[in-house]
């Protein structure tokens, strides 16, 4: 019973915090912060998925910006086709999942440096394809992406009037994503993933289907990333090729590393705060340098992440 409390209370706490923050911002007439908080939520989805992949299954990916971009561009292009307005996000996520499966099957046979380089190359290929193809707007990206109607009057869109609504949509996705991830991590599969991370051969000897689980986690993390990308594309009304850049992909790795490789809550906290600050321009011209420095400093001094350093477990 106590285990369930420690597991789910923080999620409830998160939901309450989200609502309280919204109430405070509205009361203080600081509603414009909600736009960046909404965007931060979508970027955090990527980090959460990557945390499952890197922290639990122990597989590094330097190309997750590529999946975010596939989600975003996919949704934009499909919405632009005008067939069915509800199709864009699910279809884009499905495409990302298929690409992840295709890339993952050969890539996950690699370890360490080779896997990092393969995923890095994947991200660069996505970037180059986006930059070089008219359909994707080349260097300018895509704009005029319509909103995504959910139901009744609720839509994922950047319209000022729907700002509060979209804040809740984004953060509901994060809360649900967190719930699913926390459940997974504490399940039989979660234990198996941690075993794979710990010692692949011993895990296999216990019957864990190592290759299949690595692939499934890779695809799952791509789904999280693509969902974030697709929703952000609709929210922003536009998307650019920079989302697939090496720097963006490295950022997600930095956030997961700083949050503590195996810590979902750490990743959530670090990702939300740093992404929000970055979006507000707090780091100015040194934006990328900050994330690079984080990577170096964390890996040198606190490889288990900031939370561990502060004495907080999980």
């Amino acid at each position: 019973m106590k285990a369930y409390l420690t597991r789910y209370l923080p999620i409830l706490g998160l939901a309450i915090l989200v609502a309280a923050l919204q109430a405070a911002l509205s009361a203080l007439k600081l509603e414009y912060y909600m736009t960046q908080l909404t965007m931060a939520a979508y970027y955090t989805l990527v980090s959460l998925g990557l945390c499952l992949l890197m922290g639990y299954a122990g597989q590094v990916s330097m190309g997750h910006g590529g999946f975010f971009a596939i989600g975003g561009y996919g949704a934009a292009v499909i919405a632009g086709l005008g067939i069915a307005s509800w199709l864009s996000i699910p279809a884009a996520v499905l495409i990302a999942a298929l690409v992840a499966a295709a890339v993952g099957v050969p890539a996950l046979r690699l370890r360490g440096h080779y896997l990092a380089m393969a995923t890095l190359a994947f991200g660069i290929i996505v970037l180059r394809v986006l930059l070089g193809t008219k359909l994707f707007g080349e260097a300018d990206g895509l704009s005029d992406i319509p909103g995504f109607r959910l139901f009744a009057g609720i839509a994922i869109s950047g319209k000022r009037a729907l700002r509060v609504q979209n804040y809740y949509i984004a953060w509901t996705l994060v809360v649900v994503g967190m719930l699913l991830a926390v459940n997974l991590v504490n399940s039989r599969v979660g234990r198996a993933l941690r075993a794979i991370h710990g010692n692949e051969d011993a895990a296999a000897a216990m019957g864990v289907p190592v290759a299949r689980y690595k692939l499934a986690t890779f695809v799952l993390s791509a789904v999280y990333a693509a969902l974030g990308g697709a929703c952000l594309a609709h929210f922003n009304g536009g998307i650019g090729p920079g989302e697939a850049s090496v720097l963006k992909s490295v950022r997600y790795v930095a956030l997961v590393a700083a949050g503590g490789m195996g810590s979902l809550w750490g990743t959530l906290a670090v990702s939300t705060v740093l992404t929000f600050l970055s979006l507000r321009g707090a780091f100015g011209l040194y934006d990328d340098a900050v994330f690079g420095a984080i990577l170096v400093v964390i890996m040198l001094f606190a490889p288990d992440g900031i939370l561990r350093l502060l004495g907080i477990r999980r």
Binding site: Y4, L179, L180, A181, N183, L184, N186, S187, R188, V189, G190, R191, A192, R194, A195, H197, G198, N199, D201, A202, A203, A204, A205, M206, G207, V208, P209, V210, A216, L220, G262
Partner: protein
Amino acid sequence: MSRPLLEVRGLHHWFGGLHVIDDVSFSCRAGIVKAIIGPNGAGKTTLFNLIAGSIVPAEGSIVLDGRQTAGLPPHRVAALGISRTFQATRLFPGMSVLENVMVGRYLQTRGGFLAGMIGPALTARGDAAARRECRGILDELGAGHLADQEATRLPFGRQRVVEIARALAAAPRLLLLDEPACGLNPSETETLGTLIAGIRQSGITVLIVEHDMSLVMGVSDEVLAISAGRRIAEGTPREVQADPEVVAVYLGDPDVSRP
């Protein structure tokens, strides 16, 4: 008479140009403890790795209760009922003793990614049962009080016990123990012997690679002696101990501890 649980026929394997397993054939009846002995470098651990599926043999067959296992990946071999420990313990770092044993319980539990994400509504009962069973196994091995400690921080001898518990959690038909007495003092070795006898009692067949002759003589029903990848003797412990070729191979080998 029913067929043996494990039948190895004409097994050959090479590492580069080295013929590490040379035409090894033997069988193992169900319900016994069979020891594999031999000097260092004889190929004992390689033999284990071949049986457990982490290496695919170049030639030969390995049949478990009528099913060919040579060539199957390790997790499939495990699913057929073979579980193992490792010469240098391979417990999962960053996980408690209980969690390590729960991983051993993987094959006996259900639930994939979807069920895992949906959570306790679907999996609570199965998880709770698994937890109880794993605690039970740890208790039986006298390690119950260690359940919540970080497995890789335990003293070496305790880690071995945890690894055996993890292998037992898989409810195997055939348990492979790779030098379980390595690094244990005589009293710990004696406890280990009792433990192995208890495992045999519960119906699990045990194949054990061991150097410690007191353990081998005390607990095994049959012994297989190999040297330089070749089988040199097989039979009861007394028979093998008296076999002249075995004696010749062991004389002058300082790594074997005599009873």
